[in-house]
């Protein structure tokens, strides 16, 4: 109860209005998404694979260009001019299913790439970073408890450790939002819980909002402060873990949202 009360008063950090994404005329990945994200919450986007979760996330930092609709980050329009894109992307840290660390670089250099958007291209030409950047990167590594592996090559780490490095890289951007796209889909359950725990704990400490795509209901129940359920490119549920009953799960995983609309009429 207390939690819902606090989230209600929190300001809105991200709002999405009428977002659609189509590929050609036939494939509609997103079909009119409207939602608001509150400052500091841990929001899980739940849905089966192919529901459009990943596309939604990539539209938020414009790795994918939305077809229609608007996205606002605080007062700034994300879907505005491309010129401001670099500064905007800085605000969105991203964590991927496949970790996407640059395998041949050291752990520390990987985290330092989170600082790239703050520095000019010429300064980074010879892989040199400022002392301040290094300090930030190592602190982020310490937050996920991997500072002792800073000088190892990224591909020598286990999957769970690589994902923690990826979280550190996202933190190094000093973002206001972290987008985690199926962060634990390639990890076994014990490690997955550990990674999600780090993600939640660190974002709490630093007051970062987290949007996390998941397809496993159990992790969602365990970690989510608020849940958005997606099915076939539409939002079919918004609520907390307590509201996540069998009927809702059936709606997310089995029912075609179009059919439902037809019945509604």
């Amino acid at each position: 109860m207390l939690m819902t009360a606090s989230t209600k008063t929190a300001p809105i950090v991200l709002s999405v209005r009428g977002l659609t994404k189509s590929y050609g005329n036939d494939v509609h990945a997103l079909r009119g998404i409207d939602t608001d994200v509150q400052e500091g919450e841990f929001l899980v986007i739940l849905g089966p694979s192919g529901a459009g979760k990943s596309t939604l996330m990539r539209c938020l930092n414009r790795l994918v260009e939305p077809t229609e609709g608007k996205i606002f980050h605080r007062d700034q329009e994300v879907t505005g001019k491309r010129r401001d894109l670099r500064a905007l992307r800085r605000q969105f840290g991203m964590v991927f299913q496949q970790f996407n660390l640059v395998k041949r670089l050291s752990v520390l250099t990987n985290v330092l790439t989170g600082r790239l958007a703050y520095r000019s291209t010429w300064r980074s030409l010879f892989y040199n970073f400022s002392q301040e950047d290094k300090r930030i990167a190592i602190e982020c590594l310490a937050r996920v408890n991997l500072d002792h592996k800073a000088f190892q090559r990224a591909d020598t780490l286990s999957g769970g450790e690589q994902q923690r490095v990826a979280i550190a890289r996202a933190l190094a951007q000093q973002p206001s939002i972290i987008l985690a796209d199926e962060p634990v889909a390639s990890l076994d359950p014990k490690i997955a819980r550990q990674v999600l725990t780090y993600l939640k704990q660190v974002s709490r400490e630093l007051g970062i909002t987290v949007l996390c795509n998941l397809h496993q209901v159990e992790y969602t129940r365990e970690f989510a402060e608020r849940i958005i359920g997606m099915s076939r490119g539409k939002v079919v549920f918004e609520g907390t873990a307590a509201d996540l009953d069998d009927e809702v799960l059936h709606r997310i995983y089995y029912r075609d949202p179009d059919e439902e609309e037809d019945q509604g009429r």
Binding site: N61, L63, L85, R86, A87, L88, R89, R90, F92, G93, M94, F96, Q98, N100, L101, V102, K103, R104, L105, T109, T113, G114, L116, A117, T121, S124, L125, Y127, A166, R169, Q173
Partner: protein, 273 residues
């Protein structure tokens, strides 16, 4: 009822199989016939025949006997030419590496600034690849005079084409996830290339550059035939003077040089990859 339909289905499948096989055999026979005809025709065109080969054997034998024994005293003279051959190959490859770094990024679909630049770069690379070192060497000898300098330029141009095309294809094949992660941090295009693309291709690039050095040494041994320095020059000179024992020494040295470079480059490559 069920078994009847099952059997007839098997029969139909067997029949289809026979038909498919016959059609495939016919097709194969057709291609084989076509290939044989092409080979037959081209053999006639270049006057290639087993008879010519057999009648040539005595001449070949005569020639080989004249090569033996190699004149080992000539080895001392070949020292400088051998060093020069290696030097040509090293600088040719080094210049090629320097030139192919920008060209390979311009010639890869995912890093090129513009599609027109991509096509122009690929055209240039194809031209450099298509034209043999020896052709370049001939032109450069005319332009800048006899000597190893023309050889270096020739090796460099041809190796640039090879190296840059290989590297461009590696760039196009990089793991897209690692690149996407860099874009998502808000890195600029150049930073994405530096931190997302380059680390992925470096081992393959170095490995291929070492292979190219090996090939360049092999090429540099014959550049002298057109006056562009190295061992080939001694080879052709001794032949023109009918000093066949010395020619044999040249061939021996070339053989050993290539063998050694092959061995060293092979070891280096295994170390890198």
């Amino acid at each position: 009822m069920n078994s009847v339909t099952f059997e007839s289905a098997v029969d139909a499948a067997l029949q289809r199989e026979v038909e498919v096989r016959r059609r495939r055999h016919l097709k194969l026979a057709g291609w084989a016939l076509l290939a044989a005809a092409a080979l037959w025709y081209s053999a006639a065109q270049i006057k290639l025949s087993p008879a010519a080969l057999v009648s040539g054997i005595p001449f070949m034998w005569d020639f080989i006997t004249r090569l033996f024994p190699p004149d080992l005293s000539y080895l001392a003279v070949l020292g400088d030419a051998t060093i020069e051959t290696v030097q040509i190959a090293i600088w040719g490859t080094l210049l090629a590496i320097l030139m192919s770094i920008p060209l390979s990024f311009l010639g890869a679909r995912n890093t090129t600034p513009h599609i027109v630049v991509f096509h122009l770069t690929r055209l240039l690379l194809n031209a450099l690849r298509a034209i043999n070192e020896l052709v370049f060497a001939l032109i450069f000898v005319s332009a800048v005079g006899l000597g190893p300098f023309a050889g270096v330029l020739a090796v460099a141009l041809h190796a640039t084409g090879m190296l840059a095309k290989f590297c461009a294809e590696e760039i196009e094949g990089v793991d897209k996830g690692q690149v996407e992660a860099q874009i998502a941090t808000g890195a600029s295009r150049m930073q994405v290339i530096l931190f997302g693309v380059t680390p992925q291709i470096i081992p393959q690039f170095i490995g291929y550059a070492i292979y190219r050095l090996d090939v360049s040494i092999r090429s540099a041994t014959v550049l002298g035939l057109v006056g562009a320095g190295g061992l080939g020059f001694s080879l052709i000179q001794t032949m023109k003077l009918f000093k066949y024992h010395q020619t044999a020494t040249c061939i021996l040295v070339i053989f050993l040089l290539v063998l050694v470079s092959d061995w060293i480059c092979g070891r280096l490559r295994r170390k890198v990859i």
